[in-house]
Symmetry: C3
Subunit: 452 residues, 3 copies
């Protein structure tokens, strides 16, 4: 367990020994491959099947159900949607789009359709991305009655005058919006909330990387024996799922949640990034910031002004939870976003393993955080405890400098995240020093909880 | 009235329709032309005539009088000064300076004089600007007994040995320092103070642009039916006038004035600028700052350290009012300042119209300001109200982004000026969104007043 | 005395008249030359002799004694150490190191030694600095039993296989750690603490510049008749001396010390620098910062993160005193640091005189500090008091601008250090203006003390 608790400091892609190499990444990729074919939307059999898969891996996940028509906040739970068949055929019977080729071909929550139109008429039902002619765009129309197809612009440009048959065998019906939830109790009631979404069809970075990295984090948390915090993990349909959950649990969340993250677009290898919670100064923000600062790679930090996933709901004015978003490359910032190009090539065993470590280390920065208080008047004599050179040197660097920084700023006011920021060291590193100093009786480490 | 209330956003010189084109600028220029010949000083017939002109245009202006010798603050109201004739003549009778050519030729508040001196003696009475040889400098000696002339350095250099007669037919006598005041009640007692000065002789950017733009603002306020704030408008002699008014009304001012501006040097077309009130964080400062930020033109913001007009008095330590100065190019920052070159060529119908809009939009930023509070738990569903696209898109830009920013930051703590600053949009634009959202029942807008 | 109180503003090396030229620097250099040969360590005859020298110059210095074995904070007072003889000889009797050549040749607090070793054995006892082959490094082993020599790397490289006799005639014995203390009462109980250290052997910038500049400051303070603050001056062994003094006087120090400085490395001419106290916002920090800002020379400001001298102890978490370090070039930042190269060539009469002025002006910035409060409503009329031009000018610069800044910010909240910072003027300059304004009745200057 100790090795689980000590993150690879700073450099996430440092070589590990062969036995453990990318074990997390391999499991995550396997889940992505299994979940990729499922046709998810915000409510319907695809979402249900996805939750069932997650439950197979981790039985601690149970399902919450919200019946169609239920009022949640300012919103109404929609009907379930399913689609069996959808295609466009020319008069000679050649298909130019077909659900079985890609579930992006049909606009999510399309109404049933069976019409024959000429080329001009076809244009009213077909959407393309001229700037990415090879890509099928991903479109949804959850709350507005509409039918339509998405096809590559390259295909669209080659269409000739003809009679086209457009067929969508879909249905909407009263049912349930479903959320997968797991709760892991810790030493204290304070919760860390971790969420991701399960409402997009076959896309990888902006969909499956989120729930699969979260699933692996959940597995790791189950065996991480020293949990101080309790953990609440949610797999939910984006926006409406978050609003449904919030409207049902607001008071408990406001009283218990100490920190938390949305996991989204967390599979590619291009960068590490973070969207801050509303004010940018929450425990979540501070923990993510020190991790980004010690990764020494391409990192971006965004304001809540640039929000786009469920931190929109969790940080909304009357909700005010301390939730940010952990990401590799942010939605909207990579060209494959919301197209068929966001496929399995976006991720690798290595990039997924790094993403796991990024999330785990951020969580551990909170687990390891404490408020150290030096117990001596003046500096403690570290030399007699073997923690300081007994022969003088021209300057104090490295470990000893970090140790002295920790002692010097252990005033019972600054926490370990703040002290780590002073020297740009991972919290795990400074936590190791804090434990050494505590064992030597020269500091006392205290914790602060919301629910204490 | 609605169109009055909606400023031309961001680009003040955008084309308007022919009917309204520069109507404000035309009126302002006409006032400048009428007031230009009057020989003003801090007390005397010129100031009185100027106030009378302003009263002709707007009868709401009444006169306050402070008798010579009255103690105001640390100062004493001076005597009135008038001058009928002033000139320098060579022995052949050629004039080299004459009051009727320019009222800058005589130092303001000069004592009577009738002496004949040689070239060397002349130098004691004559002031020039060697760095601007064509210009007559503008000099005053309000509180020290002195007589003197100002002439172009070019003229001065050509003088030869001769007997020069210096003649000033002026007098000082007990009378009154006069201030023009107008008060327009609004929905609340909170006042916006607007002032300018009427104590300089024939100069345009640093004198007449101020009271004439303020006069046009006063006219506009009279017909702007939806005034929330009450307005107090003062036309006063600089420094001594402000001190006199403050010493008489300090308590009322401190209790009622929520914001306000000195208008000075507000006629030229070179830039827009602002001198902050003492601490740089008053409502006045914040409103002026967001306007400067959304003008998209050459803009300067100065600290109160760089003060020079009546914000000196209004923000002085024991006065502490939230008053800044709205300007185009700041006094001292343009070469024509305090010389005869500061004439009608400094301004145009267009530049004056823009100045009017600059002041009006700053005032409207305060009028439109409010504290929006979102009423929903989680985001409101804007799609069902026609305010959000029902078909998903790759990203959210422009109007929808600004609307979402308003909703997300409507926490009952940030005001509209602060939210507008987040997205660098005019307050008027964000106010339009706030009204839409309020009509749709998803936000409530509240106001905060000093006097409530 | 008045001239003592008025520092040379801004430019410390401005020419003075011949009579006073470098009088302080000359005295300081003389003390350095007298103290240089003494073999100091943290406890022993060298330190005692050093204190006795200081007492000869200033009889106000008395000695505090801490017996060996006494527990102070987390530390224990060590035994005294003395050494009579120490050398390394080849088999032919040639010395390659000898205490009489330089007292850096023996590691401070070395145990007695008399062994003969071959070249390989010698390496266990000899320390060099390969990167500075001409220099004898300076090493100490205060709290660990060890014997050893320091020699130039150049000498070490030329050693051949031989039998080397290593002889150290030293002894450790129960005795006292000694501190020189002087106390100068002022008008108020609030103390300014000034310290330096007396524990290094023959080195100049990092040792003797500190106590000798401090001695000259002490002499100056004795005759500076207008002391508002009381002064406590300490000459102590670094670290253990500070901890001993703190553990004995903590409560008094926390109640009385308003500001203070450690003087270290304050002899060379390369730059001026400062290590802030723990939070960087104490009176000490603010006074040092405005002096650095107005020196107009190569200046560095360090965070407490970069600490290394006794500000480590004085600002430690449970001590929390407002003490920073005044320096020329910081320890560790000049190549001669902690070697035999840190000799008399490091300093000059001029550089030492400048250092004296730097410390004196920093102290005077605190002595002169006050909270000015303007007494008028609106600006005072400075013209009638001869403090403002009676003939108007195009702009207000220099003295008048600084005077107006002082009046404008004299709100009873900002102190003179803060106001001086606004205009980047020495506090002494602004203090002169404050006294003029106070004499003219337009401001009142108040003081704030801890002990009042």
């Amino acid at each position: 367990l100790a090795s689980e608790g000590s993150p690879r400091p700073a450099q996430y892609n440092a070589p590990l020994d062969v036995m453990t190499r990318y074990i997390h990444g391999e499991r995550i990729l396997s889940s992505i491959e299994n979940l990729f074919p499922i046709h998810r939307s915000i409510a319907g059999p695809g979402t249900r099947k996805t939750i069932e898969y997650l439950q197979q891996i981790c039985p601690k996940i149970h399902t919450l159900k919200y019946a169609s028509g239920t009022q949640v906040g300012d919103w109404t739970i929609p009907q379930e949607w399913s689609v069996r068949e959808a295609w466009i055929r020319t008069s000679r019977g050649d298909k130019i789009a077909c659900l079985s080729w890609s579930n992006l071909h049909v606009i999510s929550h399309s109404e049933p359709l069976d019409i024959t139109v000429d080329l001009t008429g076809l244009r009213n039902y077909v959407h393309t991305l001229p700037s990415q002619p090879e890509a099928i765009p991903y479109l949804t129309s959850y709350y507005n009655s509409r039918s339509g197809f998405c096809i590559p612009h390259r295909v669209y440009e080659q269409l000739v005058e003809d009679d086209y048959r457009l067929y969508i065998d879909s249905k909407k019906y009263d049912g349930f919006l479903e959320i997968g939830e797991a709760y892991l109790p810790g030493e204290v009631m304070d919760e860390i909330l971790l969420t991701s979404y399960i409402c997009h069809p076959s896309m990888v970075n902006n969909e499956l990387s989120g729930p699969t990295v979260l699933l692996e984090i959940l597995r790791w948390l189950c065996v991480y024996g020293k949990r101080r915090y309790s953990y609440r993990i949610l797999f939910l349909p984006e926006t409406i799922g978050a609003i449904a959950y919030i409207s049902d649990h607001l008071r408990h969340m406001q009283e218990n949640i100490a920190a938390g993250y949305v996991l989204t677009c967390i599979g590619d290898e291009r960068r590490y990034s973070y969207v801050n919670s509303r004010h940018g100064d929450s425990l979540s923000d501070r923990a993510a910031r020190i991790v980004l600062r010690t990764i020494n790679q391409n990192c971006y930090e965004y304001s809540w002004l640039d929000r786009g996933s469920d931190e929109r709901q969790f940080c909304a004015p009357n909700v005010n939870l301390p939730i940010g978003s952990l990401m590799r490359t942010k939605y909207g910032e990579f060209p494959e976003y919301h197209t068929s190009l966001d496929d399995l090539d976006m991720v690798s065993v290595q990039s997924l393993d790094e993403s796991f470590c990024f999330v785990r280390d951020t969580i551990l920065s909170i687990e390891h955080n404490c408020i150290p208080h030096c117990t001596t008047i003046g500096e403690p004599q570290l030399g007699k405890r073997g923690l300081y050179p007994t022969l003088s040197t021209k300057s104090v660097h490295g470990q000893v400098h970090n140790l002295m920084t920790l002692v010097g700023y252990a005033d019972g006011k600054m926490d370990l995240i703040a002290i780590s920021s002073l020297v740009s060291q991972p919290v795990a590193t400074m936590s190791r020093y804090a434990r050494i100093l505590e064992r030597n009786g020269v500091i006392v480490a205290r914790h602060q909880y919301k629910t204490a």
